[in-house]
Point group: none
Chain length 542, copies 2
Amino acid sequence: MTRTRLTLYDTTLRDGQQTQGVQFSTPEKHQIAAMLDQLGIDYIEGGWPGANPTDSEFFAAKPQTKATLTAFGMTKRAGRSAENDDVLAAVLNADTQAVCLVGKAHDFHVTTALGISLAENLENIGASIAHCVARGREAHFDAEHFFDGYKANPDYALQALHAAHDAGARWIVLCDTNGGTLPSEIRAITESVIKSGIPGDHLGIHCHDDTGQAVACSLAAVEAGARQIQGTLNGLGERCGNASLTTLIPTLLLKPAYAERFEIGVTPEALTQLLRISRKLDDILNRVPLRTLPFVGASAFAHKAGLHASAILKDPTTYEHIDPATVGNARVVPMSNQAGQSNLRMRLADMGVAVARDDPRLGAILEDVKAREDQGYAYDSAQASFELLARRALGQVPDYFEVKRYRVTVERRKNKYNEMITLSEAVVVVKIGDEKKLSVSESLDAEGHDRGPVNALAKALAKDLGPYQDAIDDMKLVDFKVRITQGGTEAVTRVIIDSEDGQGRRWSTVGVSPNIVDASFEALLDAVTWKFLRDGVEPCRT
Amino acid sequence: MTRTRLTLYDTTLRDGQQTQGVQFSTPEKHQIAAMLDQLGIDYIEGGWPGANPTDSEFFAAKPQTKATLTAFGMTKRAGRSAENDDVLAAVLNADTQAVCLVGKAHDFHVTTALGISLAENLENIGASIAHCVARGREAHFDAEHFFDGYKANPDYALQALHAAHDAGARWIVLCDTNGGTLPSEIRAITESVIKSGIPGDHLGIHCHDDTGQAVACSLAAVEAGARQIQGTLNGLGERCGNASLTTLIPTLLLKPAYAERFEIGVTPEALTQLLRISRKLDDILNRVPLRTLPFVGASAFAHKAGLHASAILKDPTTYEHIDPATVGNARVVPMSNQAGQSNLRMRLADMGVAVARDDPRLGAILEDVKAREDQGYAYDSAQASFELLARRALGQVPDYFEVKRYRVTVERRKNKYNEMITLSEAVVVVKIGDEKKLSVSESLDAEGHDRGPVNALAKALAKDLGPYQDAIDDMKLVDFKVRITQGGTEAVTRVIIDSEDGQGRRWSTVGVSPNIVDASFEALLDAVTWKFLRDGVEPCRT
């Protein structure tokens, strides 16, 4: 049976940026576009050129993607020609293969929000699409408020679509802009659109999650005949978010009802990277990944109920709707059982640590990991700290040095020019063998700017480690992430530090404490210890 | 037109407790049951009496509810009579009006997980239900794995249902235990069940969110004829969670497609308490409320796009699928790079500041917001800091006091018991009118634990603000979020602080600096200043 090709259109970089608190930088946009391209998305909507500097810079850098890069904009305004509309010109100047123009399909919006006549609006749509097509672009029409518009005035809503279609639009995207339309309504209205003469392979669907049904609404449109699905990674987007491609992609690939009828550009190999891509986006946003996310959430294959866990041991299909490995996820079962221990042995083997199958220390390490993760540690993001935890339990980490004490001071006051300045200073006292070493550093960078207390502490620690100095000299702190893992005044701070050395190695360590300075210091100490261990540094004996 | 009554069945206290990291105490269970009762839920499933002490204690206290309290358990085991099954006896001993017994409807589970014959399983179901009915209880049969079972062996799956129905079960609940069934499959299979002779007003639906479609699946079953919906508050539950009643209830009440056909026990008045109930549950669980939750999320009615904001100003229905007040929520028009002048004027109007459309200060404020957002400020998450920025530009913020200097010390060292401890201390010097005030605080909480440098600084600042002390005494820091907005050593720290006062007001402020202590102090100062402004505190004159 030949399967029908569905087209995936990602709008993480445009509609996803409408999420409260989300503002991508240009390099972050490039990073996300590269991930989407790797995944096998057909269209990547990069933003609205001309609307803000970040979006303009993104396109100006001419990102190279297998996917069709698409610039978003709006149809020309009334009272001027498409040629003389500066907003439309900025979109075309981004020089992308495809452009997507939003226009009104709801009569109420035309008269209330735009304040123009219904005929003028149709003229704006047709002339704008025709202008893009004449410039050699693949044109998409984003029919804003289409479903609400259809319910209010079906004839006019369809006229708006046909104005774009007749002008040569490759895709007409049916948008449920306010997110309140139900799957059954989406299905029936999409069928009417096809009946009106626009073929399904020219129709896209764009849904929001305001009734928690964005995925179901998108699939209802596909069942009715639409062949392009718009969505975002992790369901990012305005208000409750857009339809999540992170949920739709595995559903389309793994559920027989869809997999037997349709194909998409995402391969099974690319699908195994889905969890990694989802987490990477959260990393960029510095968000705590949502545990309950379908397919890729940390809890998506966690079996807590006792009855479930014991059945899972007999046969995983008893309580799993798909194999977690297909999306790069893993089953989570109570730590103490055999499956947990064999996972641990595999992870240790990856680090070059061989442990026998029946070694009782395996159970102890698992207990320790679980207890520390309850306190806020995150060993998935801090592999070097995990390696140290395991090696400590196995007696493989020497005592290189002991920190006797430290003190950090942050002071804000006026300088001699009567300007307010902030200065941080750190003192670290370590004992190496029999020798005690005091080091002090301040936090000013080369330009004389304060870089904060953790910077001062890192510099003081690295300043004089005596016989170990050679091993530490090529080491630098390259990233620093802070997360509050509990709300309220009882908040605990988790710090993850990424370090790099002259050999190009990069490793991550974690520290947790109610005190951010203390959490940072713990992560710094792990970073230094891991480096010594990997370099085979000989510990000083007393 | 007469509307059909739908029955709501809540399982927050049983399936909701299967969420990773969730374990309710008995008083918390009572608190949640009271909230559900207030909301107008028909059945409250309290737990599994006999399975754990918390659930047994919950029922032993005989909670009084308008809703029908239901005890959960399982059908009797093979090889013994219903009368002699101790697990079943414990469920009946809870002495509730209704009991819900789970049993297998999937042949594979009967043979693989239970290891009994298909006939024995049918006998267990029938005898257990009949036993409960004979004891005067309203019996529900929870048909585990029903949909997967129906796909594998429709005859046997139906036989399991009919065994319960024939034995007198009031409700037969169709469970999609593994959460992988699609809405179209749920609809078709539910129709087949009704065709087999079990009337829809005896059928319930129990869905999970493993493909992000639990709400849509539940509604598909209702459209097919099922009349009881099971779910949980905030969609709590095993793996990705159960169908969310918090989403289903407003959908059923506010969407004409359902409201015109069906009625439920939740009144419009009770619906206005939905947001409060949702947040209260997060409070009990000590979780940060999910901003993107449909209807009740903090972002559910947040309008970030400039185009949307200008239309909302003309008519809120342009970009809102329901009136946020119906569920106790409110519109949010956050500030961001994409905000236009109309967005800004609307925000100012909400704060009670009328500015003329052509006031040149509007442009200046927007420029300032943009410049600061480039530095790392985030005004859509920190509305109080935004208000201060705007009011300062309009000359509406008095100089309440001046911070002359501060100093914070974090020290880690051994105490007199030779244990490593961390201690933070802060000194703040402010000038109020002509008077200079020095305050010092340390960071220890009531249990003697260090809460870090920002805590010490907040306490020192609040310790003595002379004539302003009354205004600050009922204020507390309730949340603290840190984000590094650029990678590498040039990282800038953004701190967002949420504060609350005795009048229940909650507001967010932001600070940005390479130095985390400095960023926190800036946010603290804004928090205090906003409070003074809102309370109409009179500034001291020199």
